[in-house]
Symmetry: C2
Subunit: 461 residues, 2 copies
């Protein structure tokens, strides 16, 4: 029995692997909206049952929020112990009218880049999570056992700020400790270029409401003397930015940000990132971030302050001559280097409050979390082993890349469990994760499964 037998088995079972993924995709496990609590739970149950069919001792574990799924196999082995992490919750689906199909009725669709699995969660992260599960299933079917000790750890709150994650890691630290964490929740830098993420941006979330008049006012009776919180909010959001330089204008925002070393920058710029495609595919003719930094630097190595939602007043059909009482704003920051989320939150709040007009009041949401940026420990031999395995599978050299997104669990594995992480993912930039019409290339799914089989082989050879 050899690696080739496992790879052949993966090829032969591809359709049933896809069918299983489709089952999981049909469960609308939107973690951020309490209306879907039962469905999030249902997705956890589905995973527990599926892991058990591979002979993995899996359980659903309660938390204060959505449950965790934890499974173990090979506990009597002397081989290395890896912990595999993925998340089974998904993003909300609005605006629903822009979807070409029901987001939770997934299907294979043909595209110019080959067949794709269309549906919410196909790429982020159910499809990616299942690449690892399917690799283990094939390995077990061929060899009767897995090549190392593996702990499976699936979260149901990744898309809603992971409020239960740190408490769960602390309470179950002994059980979850391993030699290395494997995470499949990232993208390839460009189509067909296997990628290992070497750094992630951190995240800070905040939300505020500006309150002007006590009640909604008639813009005839109060237009002029009346303070309009929508104008107030626009003034404040506009003040977040320096339009000349593209920089964030909050005092102290860039504390802890470091320039990318020239050598690393050179690596990035030759790693296969297709800037033109990245921009044009979404309708941009140029990058819009900080002047003096490349598109890749803006995305991977520079911090942001982004408005994700902004609303107030009348938004129905026709018009309404109202001065609304309230205006609302949701923001997130992407953090890099040594930026401290808690210190940054204070700076942003001060910036906002310093600019409020008399009679304007503000309320903050104090339930939102932050997490710092992460840099991987590339000195560990597993990284080079995985890079070889990926290069073999994809027929071109695998690369170490930055990442614009945030995967807070990587930081918590480090601080709570003393665990390094290795991030390998097979998503493409055009997967439309967090957007309407999310998809996952069938090629990503298929070669992703094969990649994990090769990585397991390389790590235990």
């Amino acid at each position: 029995m050899s690696l080739d037998d496992v790879l052949n088995r993966i090829d032969a079972d591809l359709q049933t692997s896809i069918d299983r993924l489709m089952e999981l995709l049909r469960i609308p496990s939107i973690s951020t909206d309490p209306a879907y609590d039962a469905q999030v739970d249902q997705a956890a149950d589905w995973l527990v049952a599926d892991l058990q069919t591979i002979g993995i001792a899996a359980e659903k574990r309660k938390t204060a929020g959505h449950p965790m799924v934890v499974g173990h196999i090979g506990e009597d082995s002397n081989a290395p112990h890896v912990l595999f992490y993925g998340h089974y919750d998904v993003q909300p689906v609005d605006p629903l009218n822009l979807w070409t199909r029901d987001p939770f009725d997934p299907a294979i669709e043909e595209t110019e880049n080959g067949p794709v699995i269309r549906g919410r969660g196909s790429s982020d992260d159910k499809g990616q999570l299942m690449t690892f599960v399917e690799a283990c299933r094939a390995w077990k079917a061929v060899h009767g056992s897995l090549p190392c000790r593996i702990t499976f750890f699936f979260e149901g709150e990744e898309e809603s700020g992971s409020p239960s994650l740190v408490p769960f890691l602390r309470e179950n630290a002994a059980e979850l400790k391993a030699d290395l964490a494997l995470v499949c929740d990232t993208a390839m830098v460009s189509r067909g270029v296997p990628s290992i993420a070497s750094q992630l941006r951190g995240m800070l979330k905040d939300e505020f409401t500006i309150i002007g008049p006590r009640i909604d006012l008639h813009s005839g009776h109060y237009g002029g003397p009346g303070l309009n919180p929508l104008r107030e909010l626009s003034k404040i959001v506009a003040s977040f930015y320096d339009d000349e330089t593209g920089r964030v204008a909050v005092e102290g925002f860039y504390e802890g940000v470091h320039e990318v070393p020239a050598e690393q920058l050179k690596q990035w710029e030759t790693c296969g990132f297709d800037e033109d495609d990245y921009l044009k595919s979404v309708g941009y003719s140029q990058p819009h971030g900080e002047k003096g930094y490349s598109t890749l630097e803006q995305q991977w190595a520079r911090p942001t302050l982004e408005v994700n939602g902004l609303w107030g007043g009348y938004n129905g059909a026709g018009s309404k001559t109202v001065i609304p009482s309230q205006a609302h704003c949701k923001i997130t920051c992407r953090l890099v280097g040594d930026m401290d989320p808690d210190a940054l939150r204070d700076k942003i709040r001060k910036h906002v409050e310093d600019r409020l007009s008399p009679d304007a009041k503000i309320e903050w949401d104090n339930d939102l979390e932050g997490s710092p940026a992460s840099v991987m420990n590339l000195d560990r031999p597993e990284f080079e082993a995985a890079r070889g395995a990926l290069s073999d599978e994809w027929g071109r050299e695998a690369v170490f890349t930055g990442m614009g997104g945030s995967i807070p669990v990587v930081g918590y594995f480090n601080t709570e469990l003393g665990l390094d992480s290795m991030l390998v993912g097979f998503a493409n930039e055009d997967d439309a994760i967090h957007s309407p019409n999310e998809k996952y290339d069938v090629k990503s799914f298929h070669k992703g499964i094969r990649s994990w089989a090769r990585i397991l082989d390389a790590l235990t050879r």
Copy 2:
């Protein structure tokens, strides 16, 4: 039979008059939302039937939009001919959660200022409209006929820009011509101070959408290089204003604006307007308009550019790390003096488009109307007659006031029918029209009916 008999009859019938108003208030005739088309129609039918019970030849008249109600009485009389205007449509009710009761289940509620009729449309304008109808009903019951020729003209599109009004006036000009228009859709300058509006602000409505990326984007993958239309929108809205002076910063915005003559200003400042109450009742400690102008001038005689609705991105529970594709903005301007709505629309659009970043696209709503400001013809003898009648009813001198609101029909009566208007209304500033928990003082309703009986008497004596 005398005026006193009519006033006594009004007093005796007050409860049944209130009951009739309640019936009309129960019909949710929201004209701006197509979901309520049938209810708008139902309100027109109710009014036709009610006018007919007074012996008025009333009909529902079709338009391209919501119907008009037209009624005539006393056509064989040689007495003066007045046209009475009111509107039977109402504002939307959102935010519904701020209402203390179902907006369309009206009731009498006790307050520190006496009993009020609580419900959408109680003040704007069903309650005010019915003051005139009830005055006519009482007069007819006592005298068997009305003291002059009266045309009743009720509109169902006042809250949605009156798209059918001008075509209808043109097509029915001969039928609608009269000596003077009476309009009951305005407020008293202060509680208990009878008021005749001598000037109204005009109105310009516009709406635009800023489009950034082709689809919603993940703020990790595109945060930095990505153009965010919410930031773009905030920048543009902030640029509408000069925060130092409180002026609108759109080039040419103040063309056609005239300063208020010193004598008129002096009249206004002594007309009983309670600035302190006006501001504090809605939570303001100071006026927030143009520096160098009094609160009354800001409200009555200065133009505004107001944001009535602004939205984009995620506004549900929790957070969503999205760079949205679109951001939306609804604006209205209040116009004074000789400001030209069409010219102003061009100036505002140019201001916005001049400030768009590369890759930002814009779409305008081209279906929204504008109307210039109006000044009443106070030289007509009817104004002095009405002022005397109002002073008698309210026990204090009636005043000529400005008005912050816009009643476009006054301009159209002038341009299309050559008709002057007299605006008498009994609303109070705290009626919360266009807001949750709209109300109309029972005193306004009762003394409003009595006021119209006195005015009809004074105009025909």
